[in-house]
Amino acid sequence: MLDDRKTRILFGSGSVLVALALTTAIVAATGNNPLQAYANIIQGATGSPNVAANVLVSWVPLALATAGLLFTFTGGLWNIGIEGQITLGAIFCTWALRSLQNTALSPGAIIAVAVAAGMLGGMLWALLAGALKTFGGVNEIFGGLGLNFVATALNLWLIFGPWKRPGVASMSGTLPFEPELWMPTISVQSRLAPVPLVLAALALVTAFILLRGSHFGLRLKAVGKNPRAAYLLGIPTWQHMLLSFALCGAFAGLAGAVQVSAVYHRLIPSISSGYGYTGLMVAMLVNYSPVFAGPVALFFAALGVGSIQLPIVLKLDSSLAGVIQGFLVLFVLMGNGLRLKLLRRKRGTL
């Protein structure tokens, strides 16, 4: 008898191999040596304590976004608007830092307030997408896309308008904050800050606990799978949907706040850096499991960081990481679809 676990492992690893084979073929077709490219990526992600730290730095927003998305996916919602929610988190955080930087508050308190403000910003932006869906009947995918554009526009306007650098506005963002308003890092040269790392891990743990073991998680799952039945069972349907948006938005906002206060120390145009979209991929790849979300996000972060130096060493674009990530998601999803189809045929159930 083909059991679920075995076929899952079989098809999962098969899909990964196909994705790798295809990437290899593409790299070879560009006239590069694939093995060398992979070696480079590995080297680029693990070669020195510095790059390894960078992997963790990029893991933080990715893990936060993924953790948030687990809630919306469980609620049956496609929160494409997460990019905008990250951006709004960053904007709110910047705004709080700007407003408080010249007050008597201690830097620690200012940072804490700014991070909270970032979470609030992301949450409000997510609630907007949620409200558009539940009250306006706008599908959350379209609403989210629209709100992403608005968020980007707002961000650019702030950077080039009210918050522009003294003198000339520039694509390099707003004026950096004073170093005492930077989240403390493990050492002076490193960008790795321990607090965000802990927060990201906590976010994943929270997702795990709430989704796997709480009544809220179970109700959210019912809403996601069959809202009408959930309603008849007495579950406040739209409230749960909004709550899942709010949670996801708060995590996304936190990611944005971390990018501002711990990584860039200022607001930059592409502050969300596509972490939201990558988070969607990670969530799909792990089949919405909170257990695997962390490790796979780490792998994706490593791919991203590892491929940065590809254009320098080889004549390859760093978007190779994106290609690998995309193929992985595509083939794993396809593999799983195929697996279910085969299983059904074998077992003879429709």
């Binding site: 073991g213 709480s214 009544h215 179970l218 039945a229 045929r345 003879g348």
Partner: protein
């Protein structure tokens, strides 16, 4: 054509759903398939119609062995199946649902399909409108749509899995007459049912399944008692009627009216008291389901006053969840679509149905609760079984087992749809226990016997009009059938005015 099923076997894990079943059906035969819930009837029919693959066995048409790998293959061979739970497309318009499976190329000939649809629909006396959404139809109407679709696709063998549980007496008679005509023309019909009366009225032969095996078969005329013995392995007694003295007011409706696009119900005056069982009868689509939903806040009344308990404050405009807090529960007819959550297990359903003691789920308590409910409602399944893997009757038991502990008013559509005789008695036993504890029940049923047997009072709907409450002792099947068809209302109204 002569159809032979040879040694069909099918396992689900350790469970033998079909155990080497062999059956020969001559052309023009209406073959009844009987058996208790979970006996394996649907499984056998699904194998026959290509939805399931047997572990072993053969399907033979006129001596030729067939390979049926998919429902598509089956329909090409002329085998069409009407499922126990409708497999249609709720957001579609009726006509699009009708066309969707047809092999008519990329651009279907809508006009011809529409003409065919109307002709067929008229031939059966169905009153289906081609342009409404499938989702707005009642279960019975959706079954009708499916029958028309299969006939239109050229089905020569028609499999009906419990088709009579959602339709009215009058429609049933039309359906039976048509099936008989079709059989006279050489069509073979497989008719799965729990109702012996239906089998008696329609079938030429009957086969009985028990625990996956064929335990006997019989030709007309049927010995009902013998069939019941074959089905359950023992005699089954029908419950006797016992009424409870009605208690305090549970639901009071004053000049209530409810509107939908298709229908307007107006001037309903009704008082329901604790412990009462009120049966609601009427042709499909006469407004009874709309009315029942309005009694639970699922549809907003367009006028009048809907009051709960002894309160004088109307609940008009309140949501279902407000009603729930006052002890009202509604159980829908479309169980997999509206009542249960496919993809979730029995244990998860039970956990959802009780008030949580803390924010976190106590897994051990959940399993204990599941085992308790599974035993109490005699559900064939395990705590981790996904609801969609249960047999139809067991899904219905699950739905009923989700009723909250305390309820003042239960609104239920077709409470025993798809249940075998024994389970019907059992479930009504459970519902009556509730009544003894002070719960009132308002139920819709298309089974007149069920209405007369279990209700204290009856409401009849006809085209949006509603009778006053009629004591069920003063009714019989004949009289009730007439009222449902719109006959005898004048006398009733004259009586009422006098």
């Amino acid at each position: 054509m002569t159809i032979e099923l040879r040694n069909i076997s099918k396992h689900f894990g350790a469970l033998k759903a079909n155990d080497s079943i062999s059956l020969t059906v001559p052309p023009g035969c209406i073959q009844g398939i009987l058996g208790e819930n979970g006996a394996g009837k649907s499984t056998l029919m699904k194998i026959f119609s290509g939805f399931l693959k047997p572990d072993s066995g053969e399907i033979v048409f006129d001596g030729k062995s067939l390979k049926i790998d998919s429902p598509d293959d089956a329909i090409r061979l002329g085998i069409g199946m009407l499922h126990q739970d409708p497999l249609d497309f709720p957001p579609f318009r009726v006509i699009d649902d009708f066309i969707v499976g047809s092999p008519g190329g990329i651009v279907p000939d809508r006009r011809k399909a529409l003409a065919d649809f109307n002709t067929l629909s008229k031939q059966f006396g169905f009153s289906l409108s081609a342009e409404v959404r499938v989702g707005s139809l009642t279960v019975g109407e959706r079954q009708q749509l499916e029958i028309l679709r299969l006939l239109w696709l050229g089905a020569k063998v028609l499999i009906l899995d419990e088709p009579t549980t959602g339709i009215s007496q009058a429609q049933k008679e039309i359906l039976f007459a048509t099936l008989k005509t079709l059989a006279d023309q050489g069509m073979t019909v497989f008719f799965v049912s729990h109702k012996l009366e239906d089998v008696e009225a329609l079938c030429t032969k009957a086969a009985v399944l028990r625990q996956g095996a064929l335990v006997g078969s019989m030709d007309r005329p049927f010995d009902k008692a013998a069939l019941v013995r074959m089905m359950f392995g023992r005699e089954v007694e029908l419950a006797s009627k016992s009424s409870i003295a009605p208690g305090k007011k549970v639901l009071t409706i004053k000049t209530g009216s409810v509107d939908s696009i298709r229908l307007r119900i107006k001037d309903v005056n009704l008082q329901v008291r604790a412990g009462e069982i009120i049966g609601i009868a009427g042709m499909e689509g006469s407004g009874q389901d709309l009315f029942l939903r309005a009694c639970g806040g699922l549809v907003e009344p367009s006028g009048g006053q809907f009051c709960l308990d002894e309160s004088e404050t109307p609940m008009n405009g309140k949501t279902y969840h407000d009603y729930m807090r006052q002890g009202v529960t509604y159980l829908p007819a479309a169980r997999l679509e509206k009542g249960l959550v496919p993809g979730m297990s029995l244990a998860e359903h039970f956990t959802l149905s009780v008030k949580p003691k803390s924010a976190f789920i106590d897994k051990k308590a959940a399993v204990a609760l599941s085992n308790e409910r599974i035993a109490a409602f005699n559900i064939k399944g395990r705590p981790d079984s996904p609801v969609e893997s249960l047999s139809g009757g067991n899904q219905q038991r699950t739905l009923l087992s989700l009723l909250p502990e305390i309820a003042s008013l239960i609104l239920v559509e077709h409470p025993t749809r798809g249940l075998d005789i024994e389970s019907t008695i059992y479930i009504w036993g459970k519902l009556k226990e509730r009544c003894t504890a002070g719960t009132a029940i308002l139920f819709i049923s298309s089974d007149l016997d069920e209405i007369l047997r279990y209700s204290d009072k009856v409401l009849v709907f006809f085209a949006g009009k509603v009778t006053p409450l009629i004591a069920s002792e003063s009714l019989n099947v004949q009289k009730l059938g007439e009222l449902i068809g719109g006959v005898g209302w004048d006398a009733l109204e004259a009586n009422n005015n006098a």
